[in-house]
Symmetry: none
Subunit: 186 residues, 4 copies
């Protein structure tokens, strides 16, 4: 087994359950089945581990959202595909999603290099700029659009998790919420 990945997996579970500061590195090592020292062999500091975990997860999300593009898709279709797949990713990976939420509202966020952030968001930013240039989206700043959509997604997700609706209803709400946001930005 890849010890590095075991460490990340253990860290993820524990961070979400107990918070970053509520999780000692010793417990992560123990849960991962490695020694205390090994953790620090792979990650020089605890902070580095936290950030590495964030980048690891973010990369998975970005890949997931970007995939599935079909030829000749309309902008709206692309948008919807990305919106819906983000939504389902969050629903299917609640632990990972909660981790990113926690991370965003923590002092760790400022430890992620600017470059890394750009790398993660570039794809979406570029897409939105194109959509604006094509007169499909309203000519709003792309980061405002990004923020609006993200917070909308987070809101819907929070609701779906909290009020356990059945799959049918869930699908309906997701579709509906896409329409709402689409109306907002076009």
């Amino acid at each position: 087994m890849d010890k590095q990945e075991q460490i990340l997996k253990a860290a993820l579970r524990l961070f979400v359950e107990f918070g970053f500061h509520g999780t000692p590195t010793s417990k992560i090592a123990q849960e991962a089945g490695v020694s205390n020292g090994t953790l620090f062999h792979y990650y020089k500091t605890k902070d580095e581990l936290v950030v590495a975990l964030y980048v690891y997860i973010k990369t998975k999300i970005t890949g997931c959202i970007a995939s599935g593009k079909e030829e000749g898709e309309t902008i709206k279709a692309t948008f919807k595909r990305m919106f819906v797949s983000s939504m389902y990713w969050a629903l299917e990976n609640p632990i990972e999603f909660r981790f990113t939420q926690q991370f965003h509202s923590s002092p760790y966020l400022s430890m992620v290099s600017h470059e890394e952030i750009l790398k993660q968001t570039r794809y979406l930013m570029d897409f939105m700029q194109e959509a604006i240039d094509a007169r499909v989206l309203k000519p709003l700043p792309t980061d405002l659009l990004f923020t609006l959509i993200s917070s909308h997604l987070a809101g819907i997700n929070e609701y779906l998790v909290a009020s356990k609706v059945d799959n049918e209803k869930q699908k309906e709400i997701i579709n509906h919420s896409f329409d709402l946001i689409w109306d907002m930005i076009t």
Copy 2:
């Protein structure tokens, strides 16, 4: 001087700057100009202080949002008044607002008693239910509405804080974002 309030003020500032765990109680006491023991005279534990601070701030927000009601206001007007005053409260009290954001995505949230949460949200929940009964709002669950609006507000606020637009533009965005959300929920 009320030492209890001095402690809360100091805690607020430091928590937002350094995070809950990045702020030792000793620094809070020092910043508040009281002894270490005094802090623990008023709050049995650090956790208790954090929760007390949350309740203190939440109570202020709730009071602020609820105030200003005029006779004969339409539901939409009431809604807009509350939306706009929430927005301005967040903009005028960025420290307090960031604190509540931090608090919500922290393990401390689960330490707030259910009763306390109800007390804070009842007013809005009741209002939304009435608006639904009056066929003004869509017949969605009030907690979904609440979550949607909250995350929308947070999104807009984040954007306004990040991209420092002038007052005129700010006002425009707020009005516009109200229209967007109003379209979503009616």
Copy 3:
């Protein structure tokens, strides 16, 4: 009510239940129904309170043991009366007795002034010396005799408390244990 006595009563109960160091002065004050400051009004330090409580209890025991002397009693009869009344005192006042036991094997013992100790033991020491002079007791040092009898008493008491025997049996054991000790020292 005499606040001083209330404090002593509360202290006794708490010291026996939680130990000297497991009992904060604040809890004593609370339990006694007086303010924190009042406790320190009567006793300058916690140590002083502990010692005062010891002297208070010891005085009661000594008085109890010395009382009941009848005219023309033989030395053995006097001895037995004192032995038995000590035993019953310990059984009827288990809290007080346990307190003295705790006190004896604690660093507080060395805080009791030599004079105070003499005052408490003089009566018994003198009596034993007379008994030796009268060739009734073996010519052993009185403090050895004292230690032997005390530890014997403590041993029997511990046993009687631990193994709850009925009154009849209890009486029998006490009488028997007197005979044993009497054989030892005569």
Copy 4:
């Protein structure tokens, strides 16, 4: 060097001199020549250290008392051997003996598991039961016998330590005190 044993040794010395609560863990670590953290690496809490020290010492005493058994010894001889070796152990290891005394009359006693206590006393209890079955000892409950002998031993020890008699005299007193207790229980 075994750091764990160094810690126990330092703790023993300090506990006897200053009491359990008068001895901060920091001083134990310092005296043992290890860091503060090391102490807590071996013993999760101070309480755990205190109890571990007790078990450590008790095990040494028990081993010492049980050893030296010769073939064909009469019950009385075995009894005397154990009595005398207990006495000498206490005299030669006054620090250890005082520690156990302190421990017994402290709230820490209740933290020792029932099993551990049984393990320590089984040997003696069994022996006494056999002696009773052989009609050598009076048919008293073994725990009464145990308590009586223990308190007698403690009493004699206290006296011998307090009144520094010469070796000759000491031996005489020990022998004599054995005769006394033997008369009591047979």
